[in-house]
Structure formats: C-alpha cells, structure tokens
C-alpha cells in the first residue's frame, strides 16, 4: 500500500513539476508574444487608436480674453504672412497690418499638434492651425463639445514642393508602393498625402505596410528611420531631409530619390485655420479682421517676394530675418532657407477663399476636402464617427475684404504653356518618359473607333479629371497607340515583292528566309540594317512606312478625340478641368503590348489610349500668384 502511495506521490510530484514547467513556459511565451505584439502595434498599428485615445484626457474651457489673442502658428511658409501681418513679431507691433485692424495678437508655436488641440479645447486660444487632413484626425475630439466645434475660417496654402516621398531605387511610380514598407510621421501632415497617393494608384492602405515615426524630422523622424532600416522602402519627409537623403553629402542613402513630391501632387496638403464655434459666433467681426489681415499680408508678401527675386527687397529680407528669429536657427539655418520655406507653398489668396467655400464642383473645395479627410479619419480609425466642420460664413463681399484687398479680381488661368508642354513631351524618349511618369492607366478601343462615349469610358474620365485636379502641377499626356499588324504585313509583302524575303511551305505552315537564309533570331541585326537602309521601301503598293505614318496620325487623332471627350465630360458634370493640363500625343506602332499579334484579340490589346501623368519643367508652366 505504501508502495502505491509512494508511486502516487512520485507521479503527482512529477506531474506538478511537469505542470509547473508547462505553465511557466506558456506564461513566458505569452508574455513574449504580448511584448512582441505590443511593439509591433506601436510600430505598425498606432493608427488603430483613435485620436481621442492618443490624446488622453482633455479639459474643455471657455476662451478667455481677446487682447492679446493667442494665435498658433506652425513651421510653414504659409505662416510667414502671419508674422508679417503682426509686424514681423510674435506680438503685434504698432503700424502692422493686424495693429491697424485693431487686433492684438500673440503668436505661439503650434508645431506640437496634440498640444495645440489641448490648448484649443481648454480655451487658451480659439484657433487651431494645421492641415485639413490633420484636423480630420482630430475631428471627433474637436466636435466633442458644442463650444469647440470648428469653423474652417481660412484656407491658407497648398504645399507645392515642401513634402516629399523618397524611395529606394526600385520605386519609380506611385503604383510601385504596392507591397512596400512606408515610414511617415504618426498623425502628421503626410498621412493625407500618402492617402491621396494610394488612391491615385487605386491602392489601399492594406496594400502597404506602415512604420510610424514619432516626429516629422530629426532623430525620431522618417528620414533617420529610412537611413537605418533597409526594410523601409519609402519615407515621407520634408525638403531638407529629402535633399540630405538623395544628395551626395553625408547622410545620403545610395539610390534614394524623390519619386513624388507636393511639387506635383500639389493639391493634397491644404493648410487651414479653424475657429471654435463659441468664439466664432460671438466674435465674428474680429475673426473677419483676422482673415482679412492675413489675406492683405499675403498680397504684400507675394509682391515683396517677386521683387526680391528680381531686384531685391529689404522689406522681404526683414521678413526672412523675422522668420529665422521666430522659428529658430535650427529650423531655419539661413535666410535662403526662410525663402525656400515660403517657396514651398502656394497661396490661395482671396480668390481662393471664394473658390474653396463657394464654388460648386470644385474638386479641391471645402466639401470635397471635408469628405476626403473624414473618410480618412474614420477608415483609418482616428475617429469612430464622422464629425463635420462648418464652412466659413464670413461675408467676403463686405468692404472689409473688397475695399481693403487689391487682388480680389484675380481669375483662374491655365497653368501650362501648351506649346511648350507638347514640345517637351514629344522630345522625350521612352526611357525619359518613364522616368517622369507618376501614374499611368489606359483604355482600349475597337478597330476604326473614333468616338469615345462617357457611357463606355466615364470611369476613366472621372479618374483623370480627379487626378488632374490633385496633381495640379503635372500634365496628363493622352497617348494614342496603334496596332502594328498591318505595318508588319506591309514589311513582309514589300520584302517578298523586292525579293529580300522568300516564303516557303503551305498555308498555316509558312516559313520565311532572308536572302536565302532562314529568318530567325540570328537575322535580327541584318533585317534592322536592311530596313534602316530603305531596302523594303520604294514600291507603291506595299509601303510599310506610309502605313506606319498613317497609324501615327490616326493615333494622334484618337488622342485628340479623347481629350475633347474628357473636356466635354468635365464641363457636362460641372467639374473644373484645366484644359492645358491634358496634352494629346500619338505614339503609333512604336510601343505595342504584343509586337506580333496572332489574332484580333491580341491586336486589340495594342489598340489603346494611355493616360500618363508626367512631370514637366517649370519652363512649361505659367507663373501665378495664387492657386485655387
């Protein structure tokens, strides 16, 4: 019996030990797994947290005091007119634009967006200064109290060059993002920029892997992470970082290049001011003056900048100096950097306010952008519900604007010099064109088709019009392609007629020989020589060059017909399209998908019109003070 107990004790002891070790191992594995998951979550899935959760507890209070009125600014060229309006100072100087309007403003740095939101909610300031996309991320928090719901009171600028996507050498177009690892600042201005890029290539966030960076720049910014982690394929950075990564100096990454920037995707990052509803309702006159003062400063700063670039301007130099003093030498090491900061953005001015808030069918207007930023906020999990902003209801027809500002009558003008664009596109070889291509998609057509209806191609027209609006500094080349079957057959017929090619065999099993030798891959060099020397030319009935020329002309005509259809589409849908942005061009038979089609189905794959969004030189664009 005792033996039985003894054996049972031993059994249990061993079980206990076994159970203990199993439990301990399981716990250890679980802990490791949890830690791994937590780190992965921190790096890859921070956006799963709502903005509210990221922000933590927030106190809501009333706005206290309007003199001085605390107004946030951020490190951006679009904020330089605010400095200027305030007398190139953080506090309003006598004689300055804001002073003359009876405002007393204290400018405060708002580069820490989350802190800005806390201050806004607490009533420390009635204004919030950020990009529209970032506001979208915070939209749920902002709308959480009736006092703090936001009125977008002003559209300041578009980023036009200051924000860049840098990729390793295999990243050439936006479509190459698929399956890649992308690093960008969490909650930063590039979230919306990336979202726009993905949409333009018809990709989704699930097509990429995201690594979040804590900061926009510096040791915890995407540039450093890109440099130190080979697994990151693309990073989103501001221009100084882009220059460092892609330049020849220290800190560069071999093969890295800017494959897209806001210089092309120039209507992606909109900078705005919003104002708390309680303050807006009770201080509309003050808000109006603030906006008018800013717009006045924009007009003057643009004129000074133009003067500075031609004959020099001491007043503009003062603004550059003030910018460096306010933002610090670390951010703005030289006055040239301050000038660069201003050049990285394009103002929308007074005409831009009208277009933004009032114009129907404006694809970059308030309604369109609001939809985009709220979609992004909800889809990415920054917000659980859609909480809209109010559009400005300021009276832009009042004397405060019309009698005060000077550039109120500026009309939209075409952005590109069409002849120069055409010259540029036609002069590009295929390789150079590929280098400049940002995006491409195409449609197919039937033999002899010369009309392109909305019913058949409406989806592609919509895509083109929308993307042309976003990529406002790039041009859509509408490239007509033809099938080469007929030209090839003319070469064969001309060759046989002239005795260069001989055919043997029976129908369905023919074989060619070239000057007596079987025509195979080894004949390539010889046949190129003969064609270049004109050996297949000179007979009237089979003229491959004439057929090729006709195909080229026809492809151009098709491209023109498509361009016209696209313009009609935009007009009939009340959508704005800059006609100079769409350039038809004929490619003919030069770039077939299938060089030797076996049947009509294969031939039809060659019959296509391709829409290529391409970068063009600054010389092909027409300079304009405002983009709206």
């Amino acid at each position: 019996m005792s033996k039985i107990f003894e054996s049972m004790r031993k059994f249990y002891k061993s079980r206990v030990v076994a159970v203990d070790s199993v439990v301990l191992s399981a716990v250890a594995i679980a802990v490791v797994l949890v830690l791994v998951l937590m780190s992965v979550r921190t790096a890859y899935a921070a956006s799963q947290e709502t903005f509210e959760e990221q922000l933590g507890s927030v106190q809501v209070g009333n706005v206290t005091g309007t003199s001085p009125l605390e107004v946030p600014f951020i490190t951006w060229g679009g904020d330089m007119p605010t400095f200027y309006a305030n007398g190139n100072s953080l506090t309003t100087k006598p004689g300055s634009i804001f002073h003359k309007l009876g405002l007393n403003i204290k400018l405060v740095n708002g580069d820490d967006f989350k802190q800005q939101v806390r201050d806004y909610m607490a009533g420390k300031t009635p204004f919030l200064r950020s990009t529209f996309d970032m506001l979208g991320q915070a939209s749920e928090v902002i709308a959480s109290d009736t006092r703090t719901k936001g009125f977008i009171i002003e559209h300041l600028t578009w980023s036009t060059g200051g924000d860049n996507a840098v990729g390793r050498k295999d990243i050439k177009t936006v479509a190459d993002l698929k399956g890649k690892t992308v690093c960008l600042q969490e909650n930063g201005p590039h979230v919306g920029f990336l979202d726009d890029m993905l949409k333009s290539a018809q990709l989704d966030w699930s097509d990429i892997k995201v690594v979040w960076a804590k900061d926009l720049t510096g040791p915890n910014g995407p540039a450093e992470m890109f440099k130190n982690n080979q697994n990151i394929d693309v990073c989103f950075v501001i221009t100084p970082d882009a220059l460092a990564l892609t330049g020849k100096g220290e800190g560069n990454v071999k093969g890295a290049k800017v494959f897209l920037s806001t210089a092309q995707l120039s209507r992606s990052i909109a900078d705005v001011y919003i104002c708390r509803k309680d303050f807006y309702d009770s201080n509309k006159e003050l808000v109006t003056k603030f906006v008018a003062g800013y717009l006045k400063a924009v007009e003057e700063v643009i004129d000074l900048k133009n003067k500075y670039e031609t004959t020099g301007s001491p007043e503009y130099t003062k603004l550059l100096q003030a910018t460096q003093d306010i933002l610090g030498k670390e951010a703005i090491p030289t006055l040239d950097d301050a000038h660069g900061l201003l050049s990285d953005c394009t103002f929308v001015g007074y005409p831009g306010q009208l277009a933004f808030f009032r114009e129907k069918g404006n694809l970059h207007g308030f309604e369109a952008l609001q939809k985009k930023v709220l979609d992004l906020a909800v889809n990415r999990g920054y917000a659980k519900t859609r909480c809209a902003f109010f559009p400005s209801t300021l009276d832009y027809d009042s004397p405060t604007f019309l009698s005060y500002l000077t550039k109120t009558g500026v009309q939209r003008k075409e952005k590109f010099r069409a002849e120069a664009v055409q010259e540029e596109i036609e002069a590009l070889t295929t390789g150079a064109l590929d280098e400049r291509t940002l995006l491409t998609f195409s449609i197919n057509f039937e033999p002899n088709q010369d009309s392109f209806s909305e019913e058949q191609y409406g989806a592609e027209y919509k895509r083109l019009v929308e993307q042309a609006d976003k990529y406002a500094n790039a041009v859509f080349a509408v490239r007509g392609h033809s099938d080469p079957t007929k030209t090839l057959s003319e070469i064969v017929k001309a060759g046989m007629k002239k005795g260069i090619l001989q055919r043997a065999g029976t129908e369905g099993n023919y074989k060619y020989s070239l000057n007596g030798k079987p025509l195979d891959l080894s004949s390539t060099k010889e046949i190129i020589r003969l064609i270049e020397e004109g050996a297949f030319d000179g007979i009237a009935e089979y003229n491959p060059r004439e057929t090729m020329q006709a195909a080229l002309n026809l492809s151009r005509q098709r491209a023109e017909a498509l361009r016209d259809s696209i313009i009609n589409y935009a007009e009939s849908h009340g959508l704005h399209l800059d006609k100079s942005q769409v350039q038809p061009t004929g490619v003919g038979i030069k770039e077939p998908f299938i060089a030797k089609p076996s049947n009509m189905d294969e031939a039809k794959q060659n019959m296509r019109v391709e829409f290529r969004l391409i970068k063009v030189s600054a010389e092909a664009t027409q300079k304009s003070d405002f983009d709206f």
Partner: protein
C-alpha cells in the same frame, strides 16, 4: 490728320499693353498637315515641245500643276522648288506652306527654261525642307516629294541614287513624273511611283493621281490573312522590325544624325524648382520689358509724326 494719328497711337498702345496678357492656346494647336514639295525641272530641255504638240514641256507642266492644284485641299501644304530656270535665281518659287491659289499661280508662272539638270541636289533640298517640317510637326502628317522632270541628272558624280535611297528610308514618299522620256527615268525603279507623261493630258492625269494619294486615310482594320502572313516571324524579329522602321530621323539627307538631346528633367525637389520658377519669371519679365520698350518706341515715333504734321 493729327487726330487720326493720335487715335491710332492710342489703339496701338492698347494693343501693345494687352498683347502680353492674351492667353495662349488651351492646348497645342493640331499641328499635322499633308506636305508636298514639287521639284520642277526648268532646265533648257524643258523648252522643247511635247510630242506631237507645239506646247513647251515646261508650260505643259505649269498648266497641269495649276489645274491639279486648284483641286487640292487647303489643308495640304505645298512647296514649289525649281532648278535651272533661266530668268530667276530664286529656288523656292513657293515656300512650303499653306496653299494660297493666287500666290501659287503667280509663282508657277515665273520660271523660264534655262540650264542643266542638277536633280540630286534639288531632291535633297526639297527632302531636307520636308524633314525640317516633320521635325516641327513632331512627326505627324504626311510628306511627299514630287519630281517633275524630262531628263537624267547632269551632276557628276551623280548623287541621285544615294539621295533617293536615303530619302525613302526616312519615310518620305517620292513620286516622279517623266515628261517625254524615250525610256523610263532611272528614278522609275527606285521611287514609290513613277508615271510617264508624253502629252499634256497624261501629264495632268499623272499629277492628279499623285495628289489623289495625298493624305489618303488608312484604317486599322486587319483581316485574318494578315495574321497568317506575319505568323512565321519570330516575335523578337517583329519587334526589331518595328523599332527599325520607326527610328528614321529628321536630320538632313546624306548626313549622319546628331545625338538627341533630352529636355531637362523636371525639378523633383523644390530647391531646384524655385530656381527654375525664378528663371521662368525672369523670362516673362524680359518679355514684358520688351513689349514696354516697343510700346515706348512706337509712341515716340507717332508723337514725332504728329508733331511733323502740325
């Protein structure tokens, strides 16, 4: 008078002020046209009458060209190049461009028969002009050289063969019309079409046939037999054929192509873009300045004129 000049001055001033602000085309004008350069032999032998008539060969050619060209569409650009006329040293009687009937008819009446037959040289001049135009039109359009002659080249060494080969290898169609030639011109077997004309009627018919071919529309319909015809070609060879065919340049006939210069790649980064933007801005400023200077000069001249008429 003074008032008229003043009004004129104001109108010109307004035009000059507004000129720089006129918007250019929304998109590049459709630039392709059909282009035909006629190389007309005006050598001494063209003084002779056509068979069984007393009509001088050159006059018959002039008359036939006039009749035929009246029917040619205005969208076709025409150039008339002569060689060896005895009464003019002007080679281009009608420079390649839009056909204006009155000017063209006057131009064609000008030459009288003169010297020998430097055919090769003038085929090159005509073809070079067509290539120049093709460059301008970005390769679109159609390009034909029509040679109207009654004899072989008198050049030594004779460049006709090598030039002809080069011209047709560039995709320029050569049509030749031989007037009153006992045997076919040596061009006959080397060019795309050769027509013999031994009387004014056949000469007119030959020219009419050539112009009927100009700009003939080709469609991209492809029958089953065409796929069978090209089926034995290896795909790589087919691709190489297409590349070779479309690679002909627009450099002058008889010369080697110059290396192609790509347009400057666009500034991807703002620092470069700012620089380019400034350049564009300076170009615009320079253009404005030029207009202002022209305006001031014109106003000064008109003021001086007004003063003189007082």
């Amino acid at each position: 008078m003074k008032n008229i000049i003043r009004k004129l001055a104001v109108a010109i001033c307004m035009l000059l002020i507004l000129a720089p602000f006129f918007q250019p085309w929304s998109y590049a004008e459709d630039v392709y046209t059909d282009n035909v350069v006629i190389v007309l032999d005006c050598s001494g032998s063209m003084r002779e009458p056509m068979y069984n008539t007393d009509i001088m060969k050159l006059n018959a050619a002039k008359s036939a060209l006039k009749d035929v060209l009246k029917q040619v569409q205005e969208t076709t650009h025409i150039g008339l190049l002569q060689f060896s006329a005895g009464n003019t040293s002007k080679e281009w009687l009608y420079p390649l461009g839009v056909k204006k009937d009155v000017e063209f008819m006057n131009a064609i009446d000008t030459p009288k028969p003169g010297g020998n037959t430097p055919l090769g040289k003038y085929m090159k001049i005509g073809a070079d002009r067509l290539l120049q135009e093709r460059e301008k039109q970005h390769g679109y359009g159609s390009y034909r050289l029509l040679v109207v002659t009654d004899g072989e080249s008198t050049e030594s060494p004779c460049p006709v063969d090598s030039y002809t080969q080069d011209i047709i290898s560039r995709g320029i169609i050569i049509d030749a019309v031989g007037i009153n030639m006992d045997k076919a011109h040596t061009l006959a077997t080397k060019v795309h079409s050769y027509r013999s004309a031994n009387n004014p009627g056949s000469l007119k018919k030959a020219l009419a046939e050539v112009f009927a071919e100009v700009g003939s529309v080709k469609n991209d319909a492809t029958g089953k037999e065409v796929f069978e015809l090209i089926a034995p070609l290896p795909s790589e060879v087919a691709a190489a054929m297409l590349q070779a065919l479309s690679a002909s340049g627009n450099h002058p006939v008889g010369e080697k192509p110059k290396p192609k210069q790509e347009p400057q790649a666009q500034a991807g980064q703002d620092a470069q873009q700012v620089q380019s933007g400034a350049t564009a801005s300076q170009d615009h400023s320079a253009a404005l300045l030029m207009w202002v200077i022209i305006g001031v000069v014109v106003i000064a001249l008109l003021a001086l004129l007004a003063k003189l008429t007082e």
